[in-house]
């Protein structure tokens, strides 16, 4: 299936007409009546379909937030599950309108792939998972270990860098998908499995006996994950970027899905600007001025999305840590709406 998508994308690049314009993504989305969102094929907490085909996850909720901003209807999204190998080609060739799929923002991806990041919705870092019975307490003890990894990610490169920098030896086994890599690790083919720590937390839950495995404390890389769009359409880039900021600003201002109507009636000048009582901020993005109200009603603010999908009360049990607001010692910071 992956290969077929890849081939179709390649054919589209070779024979597709150059007139498929980069500009006007918003108009295209409005004309189609739905947002086509590149999603994770299955990472719990970020993007995963359940038995009934309902998608849940932080990244998936970002897609819904954009749809709510445009259509005032969070259900007008079509999710296209993409492997890590096919995701950027699918975005660059126009298969999807936006890619929100645990994708790490790096320099070479922006300079050579024709895509651009709209923000960072999750600050992550790469870690290692090992079986408890090995008695390993630190990644520094992994000298000589076999390590399973998924191909087509920054993970492969960080892994090589880490062992090179620490002058340690290791044996890599590279698989096409994370499920295959994880199965091989689970069957004992590898001593350790490595990916982003959020992914490790999710993958650990999918194992036969999650309690047999621990995630080592070392974070060996910076993995800023966020939504990406095609280059050359600044209107669309702005829209995705400001949907992300709106979610953060709503948390900062204490606007939640429960009190948004109340807050909209407030005389506070900041709240009036954010919730559309004053100014034409929504219209300047090509949306209605009540865009933030629509988003928050549909999916809640950033905190609500975090707590619902990956927070301490979910199976993933991730702490806010680096993803807390800047006012609470974290890295999440939004420029003001004014």
């Amino acid at each position: 299936m992956k290969k077929i998508i890849g081939a179709v994308v390649a054919m589209a690049t070779v024979f597709g007409l150059a007139s498929v314009a980069n500009a006007g993504t918003l108009d295209n989305v409005k004309a189609k009546g739905q947002l086509v969102c590149g999603a994770n094929p299955g990472t719990a907490g970020f993007g995963v379909p359940d038995e009934k085909g309902n998608w849940t996850g932080l990244d998936v909720d970002y897609c819904r937030a954009i749809a709510a901003a445009i259509f005032n209807d969070p259900t007008k999204v079509k999710f296209v599950p993409l492997s890590s190998k096919d995701r950027f080609t699918a975005l660059a060739s126009g298969e999807v309108d936006v890619l929100i799929r645990n994708s790490t923002w790096t320099m070479s991806r922006e300079t050579t792939l024709g895509i651009i990041w709209a923000g960072i919705n999750f600050f992550d870092g790469q870690g290692f998972m090992v079986n408890k019975k090995l008695g390993v307490k630190s990644a520094k003890e992994l000298n000589g270990a076999s390590i399973c990894v998924q191909q087509g990610t920054t993970t492969e490169l960080n892994l090589a860098d880490y062992f090179r920098a620490n002058k340690m030896d290791y044996k890599v086994v590279t698989f096409g998908t994370s499920e295959e890599a994880l199965k091989a690790y689970d069957s004992g083919r590898c001593d350790s499995y490595t990916t982003d720590r959020s992914g490790l937390a999710a993958d650990r839950l999918s194992m036969a006996k999650p309690d047999d495995h621990i995630i080592l404390p070392e974070i060996i890389s910076k993995e800023p994950l966020g939504p990406a769009v095609r280059q050359g359409d600044d209107q669309w880039l702005n829209l995705v970027k400001w949907v992300h900021y709106a979610l953060l600003i709503a948390e900062e201002d204490g606007i939640t899905s429960k009190n948004v109507d109340e807050k909209a009636k407030s005389d506070d000048p900041e709240l009036k600007r954010v919730l559309g009582g004053e100014g034409k901020f929504g219209e300047s993005l090509g949306l209605s001025n009540a865009w933030v109200v629509q988003i928050i009603k549909a999916v809640g603010n950033y905190e609500e999305m975090f707590e619902r999908n990956v927070g301490p009360n979910t199976p993933l049990q991730l702490a806010r840590a680096g993803n807390a607001l800047w006012t609470k010692g974290g890295l999440q910071y939004a420029p003001p709406i004014r």
Binding site: G6, V9, A10, T13, V14, F15, G16, L17, A18, N22, S84, K85, F88, T89, A92, S93, S108, R109, T111, T112, L113, G114, L134, E141, L142, N143, G144, A145, S146, C148, Q151, G152, T153, E156, L157, L159, A160, D161, R164, Y170, K171, V172, V173, T174, F175, G176, E180, A181, K183, A184, S187, G188, R189, D191, R230, Q231, G232
Partner: protein, 396 residues
């Protein structure tokens, strides 16, 4: 031709656009131009599309540092090597797994094909069951079966199975001692070579004696004795110039020795068992194509059963088998690209997978990969066609 000239001299001269030669040339030129135009359009359009989308183009990445590691490398390779080097590593891995699988699949396939024609009901039925199972199950499942269902059940390194000769077997593969050849190893090697040449001379002599006297001397035993004894003697005289680097169990994996990766073994076993089923059918078809009278005639001439197959049936059956084998070999080579699903670092895994994703240059990667598979397949076809001409019956 002459008739046409005759008529043209008499009749009015044919206008040039009615001349069949000019016409056919014109239309062939038109077709050629259309094909070139299509290719040029595809190329130009691709370049324009990529440029418009700010996607990098060209082969500038070839000498850039790759930055990732590969589990099985036949040539020296590290994360500091270039993408180009990674390409060669992947290509060699594809060639290795294809070559080894082709050899084993041919042996197993011929064996099963012959067994299927056995007069022993049990043997024939077992061979039939084998063919029907492996021919009708998708290759991907066959690979998963061997990788996860058989090799994946091996014990972990700490509970390795110890085989004689200090060989270890565990989930990390088959770990064998690595031979270290001393400088004096050249002498027994030379002795072995000389013995083999001597063996050929003896066979040639035996043939001559057979032609002259009608009796064939027992050359096989003599040759085996020479090839076994002479190099061994020289080896001892040279002071046994061979030692072994034995694998030692570390905290996670063993170090030292040689490792046969489970991914490689699964690929070879999977491709072999799958392709052998098809080859067995080809062999059966080839043998059944030879009329029964041939067997009866050779038996009437006093040939043994083995001689009948070797000297009468097989040379004729090969005519049918070899062209079919060619396409089985081509399928096997292309099927080796499924390696990525079980973590074998073949060309598609390394180059069209990791390198493609790190550089994002899908068009270049896919084109190069297509050219590579096309070249391997054409070279294989050329060889098989040459071989086919050699074994084909000379018709008079």
């Amino acid at each position: 031709m002459t008739a046409m000239q005759d008529s043209s001299t008499g009749a009015a001269k044919v206008v040039f656009y009615n001349d069949p030669r000019v016409r056919s040339l014109f239309f062939q030129f038109l077709l050629l131009a259309a094909i070139f135009a299509l290719f040029y359009f595809a190329y130009d359009n691709t370049v324009a599309n990529l440029r418009k989308r700010n996607i990098a183009q060209g082969f500038g990445f070839w000498n850039v540092e790759a930055g990732f590691d590969i589990s099985q490398t036949l040539i020296s390779y590290s994360a500091a090597s270039s993408y180009g080097r990674a390409f060669w590593v992947g290509l060699l891995n594809t060639l290795l797994v294809s070559a080894v699988s082709i050899v084993f699949a041919t042996i197993l396939g011929v064996l099963i094909g012959i067994l299927r024609l056995s007069k022993n009901w049990l043997v024939a039925t077992l061979a039939t069951v084998y063919v029907e199972i492996f021919r009708n199950v998708p290759l991907l499942l066959v690979l998963y079966f061997w990788y996860r269902g058989v090799i994946g059940l091996l014990p972990e390194p700490k509970e390795s199975i110890h085989l004689p000769g200090q060989i270890l077997l565990n989930t990390r593969g088959l770990l064998t001692p690595r031979p270290i050849f001393g400088e004096a190893f050249i002498y027994p090697l030379a002795a072995l070579l000389a013995s083999i040449i001597a063996g050929f001379v003896i066979f040639w002599w035996a043939r001559r004696v057979q032609f002259q006297t009608g009796k064939r001397p027992k050359a096989g035993l003599l040759t085996t004795a020479i090839i076994l004894i002479v190099p061994s003697l020289v080896f001892i005289l040279a002071g046994s110039p061979l030692s072994f680097d034995v694998p030692v169990q570390g905290r996670f994996n063993s170090s030292g020795g040689m490792t046969l990766l489970p991914e490689f073994v699964s690929m070879v076993v999977g491709l072999t068992t799958y392709t052998a089923a098809f080859i067995a059918e080809n062999v059966r078809a080839g043998i059944l194509a030879i009329s029964k009278g041939q067997t009866e005639a050779s038996q009437a001439l006093g040939l043994s059963h083995g001689q009948t197959i070797r000297l009468v049936i097989m040379p004729q059956a090969l005519r049918v088998i070899v062209p079919l084998l060619n396409s089985e070999y081509l399928s096997l080579i292309k099927n080796s690209s499924l390696g990525v699903s079980i973590g074998y670092p073949d060309l598609v895994n390394v180059f069209t997978g990791t390198v493609l994703n790190q550089t994002g240059q899908a068009v270049e990667m896919v084109s190069v990969t297509m050219v590579v598979y096309l070249s391997i397949s054409l070279i294989t076809s050329l060889f098989m066609n040459w071989f086919n001409r050699r074994v084909a019956l000379v018709e008079r």
